[in-house]
Amino acid sequence: MTGAMALIRIVRAAFYGTLAAISLAVLIGVGIFFIAVRDLPRVPEPLSRIIETPPTEIFAATGERLMVMGGREVIPLSDVSTRFIQAILATEDHRFWEHHGLDKLRTIKAIWITLFKPGRIEGASTITQQLSKNLFFSFKRRYMRKFREFLVAIQIESRYSKQEIIEAYVNQITMGVGANGIEQAARTFFGKPASELTLAQSALLAGLPKSPTRYNPYLHLDRAKERQRVVLSRMEAVGYITNDQARSAFQDELNLQPPSKAARTGSYFLDLVIRSLEERYGPEVVYHGGLKVTTTIDPQLQSMGEESLRHGLQRLDRMLGINEGVGRGPDSERVRPQGALVAVEANSGSIKAMVGGRSYIETEFNRAIENNRLPGSSFKPFLYYTAFEKLGLNPATVFVDRPVTIPVKGAPDWEPENFGIKHEGPMILKQALMKSVNSIAAQLVERTGPKDVIATARCCGITSALEPVYSIALGTSGVSPLEMASAFACFANGGIRHEPFWIWRVEDALGRVLEEHIISGKRALDASITYQVLDLMRGVLDAGTGSVIRRMGFNLPAAGKTGTTDFFYDSWFTGFTPALCTSVWVGYDRGQGMRDTRGTGITGGRAAAPIWADFMSKATEGDPPREFMIPSDIHFKMVDPITGTEISAFTPHPMQVALREGQELQEHTVVEEGLTDSEAGAMPSNDLEF
């Protein structure tokens, strides 16, 4: 009896204790309510107003929409696939139609788990609460924030119908890869409107809001599929679909859009566009102003550029032995060389393709514009132009490839070496550029002076800091691929320079033009000398260090120059047809040279030129051969590449040179620098490139 009485006393104490606790909780709740309600945000009316933000849209030159920023495409609920509505309700809030903003049973369960199962936090937010959180609150986990979110949810439930709430919800949920709202998500992932989503697609999308990054189907298809399975099973459990339908939907083809399109076509390029817009209009206007931006990019060339660079880098990986795990460097398994490609329309300066690295997802650093790397010998065309212009030299002028020592004031003498160290003796300048002979470049820069070479480069559009030292002739100041492409386009365009640009037109949401680009060229170089240098660069492709391009089957008239820097840190090829100028850079991000598994250094001709050839072959496929414009005062002569004199019937390898009016061939060999023929005697041959 005493035991029973004790038990009764305990029960009584518990009962009254609970009553007191509940009373206290109610009192505290009322107090907190009035505290919380003081700075509770106002709910806009109508609810749809909150999501009416005009999007800023970025278009390709072809009119294709590349990207939508900031805004949301609001569609009525009737334009959303019923399957998607069912999927999102089953997954996020299956009692949505029953509750008034709070799912009490689920909340009690969640509190229980959170309190009594350490390490686990169970969510119980209804769709209305999620909407409330997304619209008004930060994502910080705070009790007061949670309470306010709950209050706003209650208000939304009291003021709006369930249809209005679910419509607002599906129009604002974040699905990842820049897709906000169901319509954008459906178009981004599946290239179709939200009304046409299948059960499988609806289930995949309904799984994304939980963690758009974790379940991003482009990055983690396996996780996305697993999440899809969860969604389908929830739909089955709720009774929206049968088991058979769930199974069949799980096995259905998703028909995902290619990630490059769905994500951000030419993301490196788009970054550049967005940055420019932000500089001009400010971030607020860019993200909330609803601009319509037409860019210069050609999506087809862009994807060709991406593909060519990807294949080229994979090929390079194999050369470096990275795939086999025998690459050089401690991190060769993980650290792979990077690359960049920029294609510029020669007669306008518009950027048609830009790839800033292996993968935008891996690294957003845009090597096409931000990476100033030494151009090596690809800088030599500026030197040759300067020499032709300032010294009156011509492609048939003979120089001697010999050891050179150039005294430098206040510094040790400069003794540039050839790529293969050996020297070949006398040769005409065309041959010297085709073989990229450093000793002759050094002799030229000694006579022109580095400042004039820099002036030429500046005229062509090189804007990076260039050091006025002799070695500038060998490309010892960093430049970006965009600068190189734009500067070489000046050669392609007969000496007319066009500023590179990437935005054609900017309009506001009502179609009023805020700016438009006007293509205006400026004569930067003399047309005839430009053609002479261009002719030298044609030789680079036809029989010089870039001849791999011809071997790969690219046969259209084109010119270009390879570049490789000390220790094979950088590999370049910049070249052009009359219409398109493309620059390719390949190298490690941080000081690491590129050598193949046999230890042989990888040059511009081996790494960058094949990427260029691959890209240009695709980009010009079907184009008729178009010759470069030849200025009227240019005439051609066949010469002996060693003596620079007119050929005879016995000249072994005659070479064609372009001469300007008044420039004629020498009857006898005249070697520049005052060297005699005997001093310039034949030396061991060197067919390596630089």
Binding site: M5, R42, F137, I154, R159, V285, H288, G290, W504, A509
Partner: protein, 324 residues
């Protein structure tokens, strides 16, 4: 809660007499049971359960709170992320509207301009205006032939027109004057032209026909000659120098009325000296300002001075209206 139960009980007219309640602890199980299962505790428990169940079923608490919140909504602040976004959208729209308004007003002003000088003065530095090719042609044709020729030869313009590619003209204000781009439908520049500040100034002067006489303009003080004497002196100049003194004779030819007097400024600006031609048009007088090359005007002046001396010698210095 006890208070709540008590209040509810009172409101529900349950007639619970708390004064008769026994608050002493029951001594045995039976007493416990009789107290627990008595009418009043059962009613209390039923009420509590009723409240809980009805709340679970009908969500009345949320509804009450919801109604309260809806009613007080207007007094609450526009805070929270969506309002911030909304505010940013409003700011962005305002900024864009301002930008577009500025652009449009510049465009309107420039498009309403009758001369290149007016366009140049209406454009802020670095800004431009897009005109149709017809509009440009109208402005061009308003210019005196020599000036128009300085900008672009008429035949060159004719050639561009006949090509059919020239559709628009972009005019941009620059430090040195006005830059003009004749562009095709692809926004490619077919031809770029420049109107230096000096030429703009000349155009402005040419266009300027001041109402009044030369005496109203202090710059010509003591250098006003009769038209007859001026043109006599002008005719004494070598043929090739005439154009350097009066570079746009068609401006004078085009003016209605008769030139009665000519003034020469005492100030040279950038190698030019201003000439004022006073024209009598019925009862009205007006002055057209032109510019002449400094060196040519100086020669002309020396001729005028010599003629003045000769005239004085021959006629006793009587020249009506002449002060020079």
């Amino acid at each position: 809660m006890a208070f709540l139960v008590k209040s509810l009980a009172i409101r529900g007219n349950l007639c619970i007499n708390f004064g008769n309640m026994d608050f002493s602890e029951p001594q045995n199980f039976r007493e416990w049971a009789s107290r627990v299962f008595a009418f009043r505790p059962l009613v209390l428990i039923l009420i509590i359960f009723g409240i809980v169940i009805s709340e679970l079923r009908f969500d009345w608490a949320e509804q009450v709170v919801g109604v309260y919140l809806v009613k007080t909504n207007a007094q609450r602040p526009e805070s929270g992320s969506i309002w911030e976004v909304s505010q940013r959208t409003v700011n962005a729209r305002q900024r864009l509207e301002q930008l577009v308004t500025d652009l449009q007003s510049t465009q309107r002003e420039a498009r309403g301009a009758a001369t290149f000088t007016q366009i140049a003065s209406s454009l802020p530095p670095g800004q431009g205006v897009m005109l149709s090719s017809e509009h440009f042609r109208r402005l061009y044709l308003n210019l005196p032939g020599t000036m128009a020729h300085e900008i672009i030869a008429p035949f060159e313009l004719l050639r561009l027109l006949s090509d059919g590619h020239w559709v628009r003209t972009y005019l941009e204000s620059e430090d040195y004057g006005l830059k003009i781009y004749l562009i095709n439908p692809e926004n490619r520049v077919l031809r770029d032209l420049k109107i230096p500040s000096q030429l703009l100034y000349q155009i402005e002067r040419v266009e300027l026909a001041l109402q009044g006489t030369l005496e109203d303009l202090p710059t010509f003080e003591n250098r006003i000659y009769t038209a007859e004497r001026f043109f006599r002196a002008l005719n004494s100049l070598p043929e090739e120098e005439l154009g350097s003194v009066v570079s746009q004779p068609e401006m004078l030819l085009g003016a209605s009325g008769r030139i009665v007097r000519v003034g020469i400024s005492d100030e040279a600006v950038s190698g030019y000296i201003e000439l004022g031609f006073e024209i009598e048009d019925g009862t009205r007088r007006k002055v057209i300002l032109l510019k002449g090359r400094e060196w040519a005007v100086w020669i002309l002046r020396s001729y005028l001075e010599e003629m003045g001396t000769d005239t004085q010698k021959s006629s006793g210095g009587e020249e009506i209206g002449e002060q020079g």
